[in-house]
Symmetry: D3
Subunit: 208 residues, 6 copies
Amino acid sequence: MKILVINPNSARAVTDGIATALAPLGDHFRVCDLADQPATIATEEDVARAGLGVADLVRQQEALAYVTACFSDPGLDLARSLTRRPVIGIQEAGILTALARADRFGIVALGPKSVPRHLRKIRQMGVEARLAGELPLSGVSAEASGRDPAVYAEVLEAAARLRDMGAGAIVLGCAGMAPIRARLEAEIGVAIIDPVMAGAAMALGAVS
Amino acid sequence: MKILVINPNSARAVTDGIATALAPLGDHFRVCDLADQPATIATEEDVARAGLGVADLVRQQEALAYVTACFSDPGLDLARSLTRRPVIGIQEAGILTALARADRFGIVALGPKSVPRHLRKIRQMGVEARLAGELPLSGVSAEASGRDPAVYAEVLEAAARLRDMGAGAIVLGCAGMAPIRARLEAEIGVAIIDPVMAGAAMALGAVS
Amino acid sequence: MKILVINPNSARAVTDGIATALAPLGDHFRVCDLADQPATIATEEDVARAGLGVADLVRQQEALAYVTACFSDPGLDLARSLTRRPVIGIQEAGILTALARADRFGIVALGPKSVPRHLRKIRQMGVEARLAGELPLSGVSAEASGRDPAVYAEVLEAAARLRDMGAGAIVLGCAGMAPIRARLEAEIGVAIIDPVMAGAAMALGAVS
Amino acid sequence: MKILVINPNSARAVTDGIATALAPLGDHFRVCDLADQPATIATEEDVARAGLGVADLVRQQEALAYVTACFSDPGLDLARSLTRRPVIGIQEAGILTALARADRFGIVALGPKSVPRHLRKIRQMGVEARLAGELPLSGVSAEASGRDPAVYAEVLEAAARLRDMGAGAIVLGCAGMAPIRARLEAEIGVAIIDPVMAGAAMALGAVS
Amino acid sequence: MKILVINPNSARAVTDGIATALAPLGDHFRVCDLADQPATIATEEDVARAGLGVADLVRQQEALAYVTACFSDPGLDLARSLTRRPVIGIQEAGILTALARADRFGIVALGPKSVPRHLRKIRQMGVEARLAGELPLSGVSAEASGRDPAVYAEVLEAAARLRDMGAGAIVLGCAGMAPIRARLEAEIGVAIIDPVMAGAAMALGAVS
Amino acid sequence: MKILVINPNSARAVTDGIATALAPLGDHFRVCDLADQPATIATEEDVARAGLGVADLVRQQEALAYVTACFSDPGLDLARSLTRRPVIGIQEAGILTALARADRFGIVALGPKSVPRHLRKIRQMGVEARLAGELPLSGVSAEASGRDPAVYAEVLEAAARLRDMGAGAIVLGCAGMAPIRARLEAEIGVAIIDPVMAGAAMALGAVS
């Protein structure tokens, strides 16, 4: 059995990017997506429906552990109620990993509509005292967030501002952004956290 | 280069136990200890002196990342000021990993004197809203904490009480307790977090 | 147009009890339920599925305002994303109304499984500093919670303990408990909050 | 018996405005003012003296419930110590009602001197995590705040800024501002809370 | 000019006890009381009326600084609005001084009715994370609290319990308790804070 | 025996300035410095090494109480573990004294590198809700901070900004700044706190 990493959207490029990003951790992961969900989880309704899709998958497919690889953590509490295996949400894992790297953290979100949802979650997590800030991109797709040069320019500007606001570690607010992590870290000079890698590493620790 | 896991005490059995525990993660780690420190880091002064020992090591030995493998996180902020490589403290990593597994967490400490120090750190981390409780053992050594059957009985009782106080994940408050993690988890029925494994997995994610 | 009060379970007796309880506020409300949901919303999955049911109703039925009359606030954020009309969740309304009556509040939950979900929500609401405590009943149905004499004895005992823990106002943790509110308040001597009444009054204020 | 709404200043126009604003809720309220208090409660001393005036009234006049209709909540804790009937303060009710409408709230204050007093109260209420911001007008009277076109322009600008700071609901920081609520809500596009209506609705729910 | 220490009750024995307690600090203080107030400030109304008495005194008597020597801090914010001289409240000073001595603090209150008022204030002060607990005596007078052997036995028991609850420093919740401070500290073994001494020392620092 | 005020750096001018500043409190203090430490405690390593120096001194020299007169509070917890006498850290004392003077406080730091360390400490202290802001100077020495006219201009600008950010009391972030306190307070118009005076006054209260 492996750790099942669930991309809750249907963007195959994002799924493939996750698999590529996790390869250095070894042959511990199986990555899948939810074919009947949208290509980007953007609205409250997307999150609610993706959560039920994640739940169905957890019920159907046994795994050593589960990672829900969407930054809105769809279905996280629900999935935990359905299995005794570890279930890691990448928003939680990304933020918590940032907290292990620096005193205050920042988040780059795909668009303005995600920000209030993330802030609610951060308060639910009880870690708001360590938030330096969250800044949105202009509203881009999961796929574009890690591949489009124009989007990279937006990310770079947001990350620079978050660093100047005191963020010692910055969480990328989408599973699609893994391809730009290393370059961004080199250019910004503070820790840049890919939340899928953060979640996968935690899951690996949980089952080792 | 590897990830350097620093056991800041001089208990070789603890160092060996760490190496054994991390083996399933692959050949990424080198584990060392500080020969001129006490066998258990117990007092405020132990923590302060171990912190300088950790700093010296970080200055002298290049590594991909550093994990300070003592639950008082000696020298963590100091080490971070000396290198741009990731430095992970296992108290922080253990607690943060527990937060990725359940809503509220508990801690089993080696003895009563550690508890106030941990509570100060938890408040500094800004995560006190999620603490279900911390319970001390009777004041045992790092080595005994993972090997002595009488101590295991103490751990079992403390963990059961923490679970009943609402802890959905329990952090073992010493690097020496790795050998009892799996058995304890099976007997208690909630996630038991070995903080060294938590820190090592985070370090692995940070360098992958 | 009226204010639509949505009982997200299928217990007709609960729906009728809500209508009876709200009658003194005047002819401002229409109360409905979701026929395809379970009789009590108990599990995480119940909450997730009821949330989508609430969303469908909000999309289909225009109203002056909406009140989601289940103490897990299913679909609250989702419903708000679908309409510009006020949407009031009764868990939020009940707790916030308790805060307008006394310094610290308590909650009586239907059963132990609801408590962690409520605590997460209370932390998300940012009002945990004012929680005196939450105590569960033995796991009873929404309908029984307001009608069964044996359950009333449980409620009485929990409420008395919460009062002794410092709760100056106690929120009934289910829309089904309205019938016992007045009697309980007389016997306990602190404010007892029916969350449906709390939510309905807020909705009335919002549209007046 | 009715619900007694106490305007703790002597501005009859404010008292009349309150009565007008509450009329849609039905014939449940009696509105009075304190003839020997100033026309606007502005200083710390005004608040302290108005508090004793409120207390005297509560002692003298029996009512189903009491609403103290001044945004500094003068005499609130004192009045609660004198009666077992519900006593609702409009600052608390306004803020708590805003929290039932949106994730973060803002406040428009009559003038700069009120802001620190409000911030102390918000921290006492334990809800500061949800404050988007508070902005003062230039220091206007209770009466002018709801009637003077020049003041309305100030209110509009402050409310727009609060919305841009993330406030999803904005509380009007004076009982005199009821007449401009609906227009402001239409122009700003987020929920605008008249605190007197919020307190009256809560009181109505408490006695129904 | 001197520092004016205002005992807001009319218990001359308490006033004299304050003067005796402050003598070791040197000839910097003048101690007075409010002849028209009750012998113990116990109810919300006592606090409100004493606050106006304090305000009158501050307006009438110039001083280098003011210390309001009642643990309910009557009139503190009001007095600050009337003078630019430092105004120190002893509840605030006592608690803050305890925070400079130990990680968590406790309070011994004169009686159960004071506790909720103190808890509100502690939350307003924003220091609730460091409260180990507050325990009330049976409801004794300010004068008896520092002089009656039976009351001392109550204090001793409460202080011992607070120490066992984790309080590293304990604040005496009344200006009348100065005479028992040193003996209690010797018997309990943690720092015991006389709030009047704490406030007087802060005032002395402010004017030196 | 006297109260020992330990300047943990080797800047004799700072030590002399402390003695001068404390003279008005009377002949209660002995001021010393640590000759083998740097002239300014700036880096994490300076703080760690100074902490051990403070500990050695506390072990060697008996005193009525100890004040660690460096704004990073080096060795504070360690010193407390070595003696039952009061040990006061001036960062804690300065901040807590500011909280006794106004609702929100600000800090002027010697340089940008100190700010994150202070923010961690403020969160550990549990008083972050009352921080209006902290602003750094350009990175100046302890000695220059209270003596150099160009530095005074920097301090003045930072203090004015903190006042405008809502700070009602401003803490000088270095033991060397005592000489400019009174002038700054006169020019800025809010309470300016010299942390050494704050700590010394608390120590005096503790031993009187």
